[in-house]
Structure formats: C-alpha cells, structure tokens
Amino acid sequence: MVASRAVGSLSRFTASRMLRCPGYICRSFTRSSALLTRTHINYGVKGDVAVIRINSPNSKVNTLGQEVHSEFIEVMNEVWSSNQIRSAVLISSKPGCFIAGADLNMLTACTTSQEVTQISQEAQRMFEKVEKSTKPIVAAINGSCLGGGLEVGVPAAFDMMLTGRGIRADRAKKMGLVDQLVEPLGPGIKPPEERTIEYLEEVAITFAKGLADKKISPKRDKGLVETFYLTELTSYAMSIPFVRQQIYKKVEEKVRKQTKGLYPAPLKIIDVVKTGIEQGSDAGYLSESQKFGELAMTKESKALMGLYRGQTLCKKNKFGAPQKEVKQLAILGAGLMGAGIAQVSVDKGLQTILKDATLAALGRGQQQVFRGLNDKVKKKALTSFERDTFFSNLTGQLDYQGFEKADMVIEAVFEDLSLKHKVLKEVEAVIPDHCVFASNTSALPINEIAAVSKRPEKVIGMHYFSPVDKMQLLEIITTQKTSKDTTASAVEVGLKQGKVIIVVKDGPGFYTTRCLAPMMSEVIRILQEGVGPKKLDSLTTSFGFPVGAATLVDEVGVDVAKHVAENLGNVFGERFAGGSLEVLKGMISKGFLGRKSGKGFYIYQEGVKNKNLNSDVDSILASLKMPSQPDVSSDEDIQYRLVTRFVNEAVLCLQEGVLATPTEGDIGAVFGLGFPPSLGGPFRFVDLYGAQKIVDRLRKYEAAYGKQFTPCQLLVDHASSPNKKFYQ
C-alpha cells in the first residue's frame, strides 16, 4: 500500500542557483487534463502518469504553507479520481530545492498553539494521503529536502528526526530514505540544471509507470543479509514492552545529556514516537500536532526562528557588488588564524598567497591547511583529487613576490600595533592601488592600525574566529575613512569563504570582543570568589553556552585574554573591572596559556578525552582570593552575573552605534561567542525575557559590586516602556 518512492538527486550546483534562467519554469502540457492554473502546484499528464510540479512563485525555495497544502490536496484529489492516471510523480521546478520545509512566516503569523496544531494536522492529512495513496507516487527530489518536505516523499528515520542534521544523497540511499539516485548531468542540449530536472522527471516517470504496472516492487531491497537480519531482530525486540521502555529511557537520557534540557523539541519528539508506538498511529498523529503547536509557541522556537532569519540576512551583501572582484588573496602570517583563513579561501577557488617570516612557521601553516582539507577527504566530503586542486590554490612564500597582483591582503600577524604598522607599510609598498588591506585583529582599533596607511580608505578590519574553518562568524570593522567599496569587497570575500557576516563600527574591542571582555572579567572574579572552574563550566553550559566559561578562557588563550582585558580595561575603566588581572598574569608567568600550551585551568593531553583540572592554578587563585557575597552568589546569580554583563554591553554597543542592528548583535553573539542559541542572542533575550527583569537583576548586582553592573540607557528605556522591543 505504501507506494511513495523517492528519486533523489545529488545537488552539487548550489553555487549556480542564482544563475538559472527563469524561462523554463512554466511549461504547459498538451495533454494536460487540468489547465486550471494554481499558484504553487500544477500538474500535467504524460501517458498515464501525472506529473505534479511544485513551484512557489517569487521565491528561491518551495515551502509548505497553507496555500500549498490546499492546492496539493486539490491536485491529489484530481489525480486519484481520474481514470486516465495510474501513477504520479512529484517534482519541484526549482533547481536545487524540492521543499525546504514549513513556511516560517506561516508559523510566525500564528498567535496561539491551536492555530499551529491545526496547520500541523492539515499537513499530516496531506502526508497521510500521500502515504495511503492507492496510486503509486514517486517523489523526485533535486536538492534540499527538509522537514515536511522530506515527509512528503519519505518516512523519516529515528536518528534524523532528532538532530535535524543534513544527509548527503548517497547516505540517504544507504539509509533507505530514498530508493534511487540520479546523478546531475553536465552540459548537453540544454543548461545542465535544466536538463537534470527534465531527466529526473523522465526517470521518475519510468519508475511511476513501473510501479503502476507492478514491474517494479516498492519494497526496498535489503542489500546485505546482515542488514536484513538486524532489521528483523530490531523489530522483534521492539515488540517486547520491557525492551521498548529501556530504549525510550536510553534515548531520553542521551537527549537530555545533549540538550541539557534547554531545547524542548527532542524530548517531545520522543514522547510522540512513544505515543505512536504504544497507542497507535492516530493517537501518535494527534499528539504530534498538539506538541508541534505547543513547541511553536515556546521562547526557544521564537529564538531559533529569529536566528534563522538573522543568519539569512547576514549571508547577504548589503553593500552591493565591489568594483573589482577579489581573485588573488594574500595572507600575512601562517599562524593558526592565517592558515585557517587560507583554508577557507583555497577551497572556494581563491588564489591565495600565504606569507610568513620563517620557513618553519610557513610549513606549519601549510600543513594546517592540508590537514584541514585532508580531514574532509577522510569524511568523504572531498575527493583526494579535489583536495589536491584546492591545495594548489595556495602559494606559500617568505617574500612579497606576487603581491603586486593581490586584490586583497589580510594580515594575521601577532597582535602588536608596531608590528602591524610595520607590515602595513611593507605591504603598501608592493600592492597595487586597488588592493584592500584587511587586518585580522580581535582588539586593536582599526583606525590606529590605519594611522600609518597612505590609503586609509582601503583599510578595514576582518575579525575571524578560531578555529576559522569551524566558526561561522566574520566580524567586519569599518573606520570612518573606510570606503563603501572596500567594505563591499570584504563582505564579498567573507561570503565566498562561507561566513555569516556582521559589519560593525570601529572602536576598542569592536562588538564581539567588547561584549566578551566584561563577562570574562566576571569569570575571573567568580573564580577568585572560590567557585571552581568545573563548577563554573557546568553553570555556564547548563545555561546554554556551548563552551564553559573557564574552558573558554583556555580556548581563547590566557595571554590573549589578558592582552584584551588590559587593553579594554584601560579604555573603558571601571565598567570592565571585576576580576583581578593578576590571576591571568600569574598563569602566564607559569606558562599556563590555555589549550595551546597544554595547560590552563585544565590540563590538555593528546588523546585524553576527560580533561583534568590544573591544580597548580589553585595556588594562584588562593593567593588572590576575594570574599564572596552570599546574596549574589547563588548558582542562578552567578549565571546571571555573567549573562547580564554581556547583554548590557551588547545593548550599549547598539546604543553607541557600534552595531547597526540588533540582528547583527544577536548573530555575532551566538555564532562568534557561543551565546546560548536557545536564547536567540542578547537582544532577542531582552525581548523574550523582559528588559525590566534584566534591569532589576543588574540593579541588584550593582548594589553589590558597583558600576560594572549599571544598566545602560537603552536598556533602561526598554524596561520603562514595555512596548519597546528590539524585534517588532
């Protein structure tokens, strides 16, 4: 009875999505039985196969909205009632996208959980109709197929429901999610994307015909005897209630551990599955729609949807196309950052020069790039040949040869103003007029670096986060003299490197470092007050930070933290005070620089998973011990002391115009600093938690510690007028 099959297609032309021409999307069929034009879904009949095309107008992707639901049901009813039609093919007319999931706007528009539940039930009915169809339906999927989109075509697997991770087409085939793969075609009689969709449709039609004629059996073949055996065994085991209970328990435990109870959805999914198995599918469906409705109304859901929108915004270049495309990039300094920047550049086809002063340092950097690419080969994300081709885009050198052709130079030398001045002057002597000079610094003000430049309009800050190939954020810093074209160029390169970009105004610590610094200062104070690093880490991670606060200091590097704290402390004075700098200085003097030196608050050993505390730090902390204040030292207070200082500084950045929009503030904090994603970023947090409550907390801590906790004016404004929101 279940007759839905999927024909998936490896999508490897995501980059060319924008290039497609719109001319071929609407095609009419001579034998179409229903020429009634619908907005999203149309169908034609080829022989005895109905070809149902999904194509939401004016959008790059198809999403499941109410109109789509109703049109889909209409079309399916016609398909089922027609005698001429014996099977159907479901396909998207958009290259690279089948259905990207539910329409977020539709969900956002709902004000109650009942509304969402109703939408969910409509969708369920749609999926159920497809599943119970008496006529075989083949889903021909080209490109992204997410969430509800996947449900339209295929029954989802346990693992995937929970984590929502991406699955490549070949893996989907192995998992049994799809039945056949169609490889994308190259150029032929038409542009590749266009012909690939046609071909996918042709193949899907043969499958649909074969299914209707019973020439192909819808049963999925079990490749290996073992797989078959295991499946049988699993299904037998699942029929024993006791075993089931154990499995639920185990899964729940695992989920709780992973989510720390911060994300409600995974646990509810388990509930739904449990209901479905224990009480039958009707109860399961009902429970699913209700839970979905409840979830859509949660703060977490709003926070995450906000982040999704913000991320989409920060993946656009609002400064327009630069006058000259950057093709030749040069990076100064082959350290961790320089090599990381090189890695994310060469695999995007940018010709990249990596320059360092010594052969040893250069070699280490080149090896880092190679290892980064090779790791992808091991994970089968790249072929060894692609790795070699990408690696050939990298030129390692000790001199300035070829800089005369560079379109952009990114310096990632040591954080020392005089050194940066030196390389800036050296580079400006060799680069062409149009070349942009970008500085990868986390704290040195760009205008101070640009002070020695002959062409300050070409100087900009590009603050990458470590490890560059993993961290998505790029913070671009413009001075008053930086030209718009220079900014456009920097954003363009960042986007090419796959980054999510925020553009902020120059100032000490820019945005990200400036928010982090007061929080770090608080971290040190809390440690000095006698809370151990492990305890502090667990308090911060249970609040939603992906990395514990003490571990974060180790990751950033104790010397870097001290450097920043000192610098910003000098500029901002008392507001950045709190913990004593002596703690960091003491650690540096003993060589505890964090992960990179093997010791920080923790001891890091190759191959050892559970890191141990570095007991040598205890004496440093003991000698600098501060008395703790019991009324502001509960676990919750400690969490909020950290978070409110962060949030207050972020709002101040918006108030001072360092940030242009709250969205950029949220994206920067979540993607660059690991601000809890479940809270959506500092600004979303203020909106959802309530500005008044935050101000109240700040006042309480202000009473204990003074000016460091004084709420900024903008935050006070928001607290005093409850209608004021960062997001309307």
Binding site: L185, G186, G188, I189, P192, R195, V203, F385
Partner: protein, 485 residues
C-alpha cells in the same frame, strides 16, 4: 638533383597559377614518377564531388609526411586467443606484419614509437621490447607514449613531429593493448611491508615487521577502471552524457547495430585490408576480428544497463568491449618514400589535441577537436569524404554528433559563433568502428588512420577526418589526405 626537385614541388604545390607553366615545361617522365600532389586537374573520381575549399593541404617550407601503409593484428575480445600472450608479443606481431607488408629494410627505420594504456610493468617501454623481438636493428631507438584511447594517435603525431622537424625520415608508429592480462598489485600496505622487509638487516627487525602483518594486506589492488580525478567510471559518464543529450536507449542500440552490420559487411567484402594474420604460439592462426556480432534490436533491448542501474541506457551491447590487439603504421617523409620507390597511401596533415572537463564532458573530445582541425586546415565539413571517429559508446558518438550540430552548445561551451555541423552518416565509419571491430585502447588510433586512408583510396575521396575521445577529458582530430593515384 633531389633537392632541386623538392623545391620545385613545393613551389608548384603552393602556386596554382604556375600550374600551366609547370605542365608546359615539365619533362614527361617526371610527371609519371613524381607526386605533384593534388595539382592534377581534378581526378576523375572526384569530378562528381563538389569542389574542395583547398586543392591540397601541403604547406610551404614544410615537409610532406606520408603513410606508406599500416597493419594491425586481428582485434579480439579479451580472454580469447591472445589471453596467454604478453603485450610486446602482440606489438611484435604488428611490427612483423608491417615489415612483411611494406618490405621496409629494418635498418632504414630511424625510430619506433608505440602507444599503450595499461602498462605491463615488465615491459614498460613496450616499443623497445617489441622492436628488438621483431628483429629491428638494436641501433633503432624506441619509446612508448600514453594518452589513454588516443595513445597511438600520439605515437603517430610524435612521428610527424620528428619528421617535420627534420630529425627523422622513417618512423614506425603503433599501439598495443592486452586487456586479457592486467597488472594486479599487492595492496600499498603489503608492498610497504615487503619493501621494508627487503631492507631489514636483523632477524629482530624482520620479525617486528612481520608481526605488523594483517590479513587485509592481502586484498589486491586492481587497475583503476575509473577516472582518477573524478572517480567516475567511463561508462557511467557516458550514460550521463547520453542523458544530457537526451539520447534514448533505442537510438543507442540502433547505432550499435549499424556499427556491427557495417563491420560485418566490410569484413565479408574483404575491405579490412589492414588486418594481418597472426599465428598465435600454441594456437591456430587468427585471421579476423572476433567481436563483430550483429544482433537484433529486440535482443539488444533485453540487456540490463551496465553502469547506471536500473534506469541507465548504456549496456554491454552499445559499448565497445575490452579488446586485445596491436597496430603499426609506416610513416615517412614524402621524398624519402618516393626515393625508396614507395607508393604512399596518404598524407598526414593538420592535427589537434583538445581537452575539457573530465567530469561532465569526458567523452566530448571529437566535438571540440573537429571544428578546430578543420579551421586549422582551412577546410569545411563538406570537404571531408571520409569520417573515422572512435566509437567508445553509442551514446558517446551520438552525443558528439548532437553537440556538433548544436549552435547552443557551440556558443555556450566552445566559444564559437556557430555549430560546425554533424558529419553525414553515409560518410561516417562505414566499415564499422570500435563498437564492432573492437577497441584495444593503445592501438585504435592507427586503425582509424588506416581505415581513413584505405577508404579514401577505395572510394576516390581526397580528405578524411579522424577523431577520438580519451580518458582524462581529452580528444584528438587529424586530417588525412589521400595520396593521389
């Protein structure tokens, strides 16, 4: 005397207006034995054919290079009569056949070049081993070239280069492939251990190395059947190519059937005169190709797709099969050939090599090479009397024909203003092709050139065009001009 004569020829060849002059002043005897190529008033056979864009492709100050003749062993399905041979045995058979056919004195040959693809490691310079065995002078140097399916084309054009630059006068070019036996290696881990063992000095070192041995070291490494850069097999790429050009299974089967039928006919009529019998040691003498098997469309339709399963269109019946075989041609400077009293079969004229995307355009070499070589020679499609294209797959041939006939493809992918047009089928591979005759990778190029030369001689045509695709996304085309009768 000879040099004066040569200058004279070149002079005349390039100046049509002096035709009357030379006819008028030439001693009669000279006309008879010389080769005043293509300047004869249109030969009778060509009278019906439309006038050519150029009367000849001879170029000023360039030596004319001719093919005197060429031979090949019968091409056999791998695993049949040649299965116990080594590649140099086959190559030697081709060389011996050429010596016999042309009676060229062995010590006159300046150089020998062979093409091959899957190398037998024991005879990595298979040209040298074959030449020595065939009794060529041990003073005749030989080297081996490789360029996938156009390896022997590369051998021939290398010969052209050597002669044109004045380094050689007489060169033997050929190709060989023995797919019945391919080098299967130990795994890298096993090889490493064995090499380390050979360097180990003490018993302890040996034992510690042996202790690292794992059973999986024994799993062998087969020669790659896939494109190294993309990891895609050629058949898979051909299937995608056919789909990109919307070529149906039926069209492919029909083309394959055509190839087999034409080959059968040519074989029956004795047109495949380049084939020389080969007495295989311990076996019967092989006299003809054994892969020619015309079938019916119904039977071909029953086959399952070989690469993209279950919905692909490339099957065993519409693909070229794994083949054993060798070929060789004798290439000379024209004046040398004439001095030695030969009556050459053809001139080797302009040639090109092209390369493109090895993933999506792996087999489109002929599409890129054909317009380029025509342009270089100053000819058009209409000037060509005989087309010989390498048939890797029906789908590949049909895709190339469609691509050459597409303005859209020419404009968007080849940077040309318009299509070159597709060759008329009545002039195209009419004595069969690689699909039916077989395709020993390294040897096919010489077969194509000899088929062209023989067809031009037989049909009285003047220009022939050879084209082929090759792994790595490369391609080749060459113009062959008939030697006037």
């Amino acid at each position: 005397m000879w040099t004066i004569f040569k200058v004279f020829i070149e002079f005349v060849n390039n100046t049509a207006s002096v035709l009357c002059f030379c006819v008028f002043f030439c001693p009669r005897g000279m006309w008879d034995r010389s080769s005043l190529t293509g300047i004869q008033p249109a030969p009778p056979a060509l009278e019906a054919v439309q006038a050519k864009s150029k009367q000849t492709l001879a170029k000023p100050n360039m030596r004319n290079i001719v093919v005197v003749d060429g031979v090949r062993t019968p091409f056999l399905l791998s695993g049949t009569s040649y299965k116990d041979l080594m590649p140099h045995d086959l190559a030697r058979a081709a060389l011996s056949g050429l010596l016999h056919r042309t009676s060229v004195p062995k010590d006159v040959v300046d150089y020998i070049i062979f093409g091959t693809v899957i190398q037998e490691v024991k005879t990595s310079n298979v040209a040298r081993e074959a030449a020595l065995g065939a009794g060529f002078s041990d003073r005749t140097p030989a080297h081996t070239v490789t360029m996938a399916c156009i390896s022997s084309n590369q051998a021939m054009t290398t010969a052209v280069g050597l002669i044109a630059s004045g380094q050689c006068d007489v060169v033997v070019a050929g190709g060989v492939e023995l797919m019945s036996d391919v080098p299967i290696r130990h795994s890298r881990k096993m090889r490493k251990m064995m090499l380390d063992l050979s360097k180990a000095k003490t018993l302890g070192q040996r034992l510690s190395l042996i202790s690292q041995f794992r059973l999986n070291f024994l799993s062998p490494e087969l020669p790659a059947v896939a494109e190294f850069s993309t990891n895609e097999t050629m058949g898979h790429s051909a299937d995608r190519l056919a789909a990109a050009f919307a070529i149906s299974r039926l069209e492919q089967d029909e083309y394959a059937l055509r190839s087999h039928s034409l080959a059968k006919k040519a074989q029956g009529e004795g047109l495949l005169s380049d084939v020389v019998p080969f007495k295989v040691p311990g076996k019967d003498t092989v006299t003809q190709d054994n892969g020619i098997r015309p079938s019916s469309l119904e039977q071909m339709a029953k086959l399952k797709p070989a690469f993209i399963k279950p919905y692909g269109t490339v099957t065993a019946a519409n693909s070229s099969f794994l083949t054993d075989g060798a070929s060789a041609v004798l290439i000379l400077a024209e004046e040398k050939a004439l001095a030695m009293g030969y009556k050459p079969k053809a001139y080797l004229r302009d040639f090109v090599y092209v390369s493109q995307d090895p993933k999506d355009q792996l087999l489109l070499g002929p599409t890129y090479a054909t317009p380029k070589v025509l342009e270089k020679a100053g000819l058009t499609m209409n000037d060509i009397d005989a087309f010989e294209f390498h048939e890797a797959f029906s789908g590949q041939i049909l895709a190339n024909l469609k691509a050459m006939d597409s303005d859209w493809f020419a404009q968007n992918y080849m940077g040309r203003k318009a299509k070159v047009g597709s060759p008329p089928l009545e002039k195209f591979n009419i004595w069969g092709g690689s699909l039916s005759l077989g395709h020993p990778f390294g040897a096919t190029g010489c077969r194509l050139v000899m088929a062209t030369a023989n067809r031009l001689q037989k049909e009285g045509g003047q220009y022939g065009l050879v084209a082929a695709c090759a792994a790595g996304g490369q391609g080749h085309a060459m113009i062959v001009e008939a030697y006037p009768k």
